[in-house]
Symmetry: C2
Subunit: 217 residues, 2 copies
C-alpha cells in the first residue's frame, strides 16, 4: 500500500509516519519509483507498536528507537531486551557524588539484602532508585524515602505475575514485541492506578470531594 | 547572589539556569542593573526542586511548569495540587474511539466497583488506564491487561502510606512542594524497583544470569 493508505489503515497522520521513518523507528518501505514507496502489514503492526510505546507508554523517541532496535536485532536475547525496555521507562539521572547519594546507596543495598532480591548495581533500576532516594533526602522528602520497603513489597507482589505474562513461547520477534509492550504499558498502567488509589484513600480519609482537578493544564 | 554563584551553589549550569528562567520554571531575580539580577535562597531551593522533578522524576518542562505553578499559586488547594502532580507523571493519551476502548472502560469501571474505590472518570489516571488497557488489547497483550487487579491491589497497599507521607501540616508552599516531590519521585522509585524485582523473579525462575543489559543504549 502507499503511504496514504498506511495512514488511513492506522489512523496515524502522513506527517507522523514520515517523522517515524526519518527517526528510524519505522523501516523504509519498498521503493517502487524514486519518490514512492510501498508498505505492508509489517508496517501497520510496527506503527501500532510505535504509537503504543510513544503515545500511551510515554517513551521518548530515543527510548522507542532503542527498544525497537532490540525487537529487530536477532542478536539481542529476550533477557537483554527486557533490560532495554526497563531502561526506557526509567528516568535517566545524573549521579551526584554527595553524602545523600552514599546513604541512599546503602539503604538500597540493605533493602535488597534484607528481601533476598537477586539483582545488582548493573540493573537499570538500581541507579535510578539511588538517585531518587538521594533527591528525596535533599528536598526534605524523607517520609517518602521511608516508603522504600512498602514500594519494594508491592513490586515483589507484582513481578511474578508480570514475568509470567510477558514470557512467550512464540517466535522471537513477536515474543520481544509482547515483552516490550508489557513492560512499557504496564508501567503506565501502574502509575494511572496509583493516582486513582491515592484519590480513593484521601477521599475516604479526609472526606470525599470532587476529583483532584488538573486546573487548566 | 549573582547567577554564577547560584550556579556554583546548586551545581546547575548557568545555561540551564537561563533556560529555566526563560521557560518560566524559575522566577526572575531582583534586577540590580539593566542586565544583572540578584538571586536568593528561594532560588536555590526552587532550582533543586526543578532538577528533582525534571532530571530524577522525568517530567517534561511543560509538566514541571504546571506543577510549579500549583506550588506558587495560593489559590490552588493541596487537593488540586495532588491532581496536577498525578497528571504530570502520567502519559497523555489520545483516546481512540473503538471497541477496544469501550471494553477497556468497562473492565476498569468493574474493577473500581469491585474494589470499592472512591474515584471517577475525572481522575487523571482513569483515561490513561483505559487507553493502556485498550492499547494492550490491540497489540495482543491481553495477558498483561489481565494483571489489572494485581496492579490495583499493589497500588491499594501503597496508597495509604503515600497519603500519610505526603500530607504535611507545615506552611502551604512547603506542603505542596513536599507533596509534589513525593508524587513525582515516588513514581520514579516504583518503576525502578519494579525493574529490579522483575530481574530477581526471572533470575530465580530461569536461572541467574548477568543483569539484563542495556546494550549500547
Amino acid at each position: 500500500m502507499r503511504i496514504g493508505e498506511l495512514s488511513r489503515e492506522t489512523g496515524v497522520s502522513v506527517a507522523s509516519i514520515k517523522y517515524y521513518l526519518r527517526e528510524g523507528l519505522l523501516p523504509a518501505g519498498e521503493l517502487t519509483s524514486p519518490n514512492q514507496a510501498r508498505y505492508g502489514d509489517a508496517h501497520v503492526r510496527r506503527l501500532r507498536l510505535i504509537r503504543a510505546l510513544v503515545d500511551v507508554g510515554g517513551l521518548s523517541i530515543a527510548g522507542a528507537r532503542d527498544v525497537l532496535a532490540a525487537v529487530d536485532d536477532e542478536g539481542v536475547s529476550l533477557y537483554d531486551a527486557l533490560g532495554r525496555a526497563q531502561a526506557a521507562v526509567m528516568t535517566r539521572t545524573e549521579p551526584v557524588d554527595d553524602d545523600a547519594t552514599e546513604r541512599a546507596g546503602e539503604a538500597l543495598a540493605e533493602m535488597v539484602e534484607r528481601r533476598g532480591w537477586i539483582t545488582s548495581e548493573r540493573n537499570p533500576g538500581w541507579r535510578t532508585a539511588v538517585d531518587v532516594l538521594a533527591a528525596l533526602e535533599r528536598l526534605g522528602g524523607e517520609r517518602v524515602a521511608g516508603l522504600l520497603d512498602v514500594y519494594a513489597e508491592a513490586m515483589e507482589a507484582v513481578a511474578p505475575h508480570e514475568v509470567t505474562a510477558v514470557v512467550d513461547s512464540g517466535d522471537r520477534e513477536r515474543s520481544v514485541e509482547r515483552m516490550v509492550t508489557g513492560i512499557v504499558l504496564g508501567a503506565a498502567l501502574i502509575t494511572a492506578l496509583r493516582g486513582m488509589a491515592e484519590q480513593s484513600v484521601s477521599a475516604r480519609r479526609y472526606g470525599s470531594g470532587p476529583a483532584p482537578g488538573t486546573g487548566s493544564g
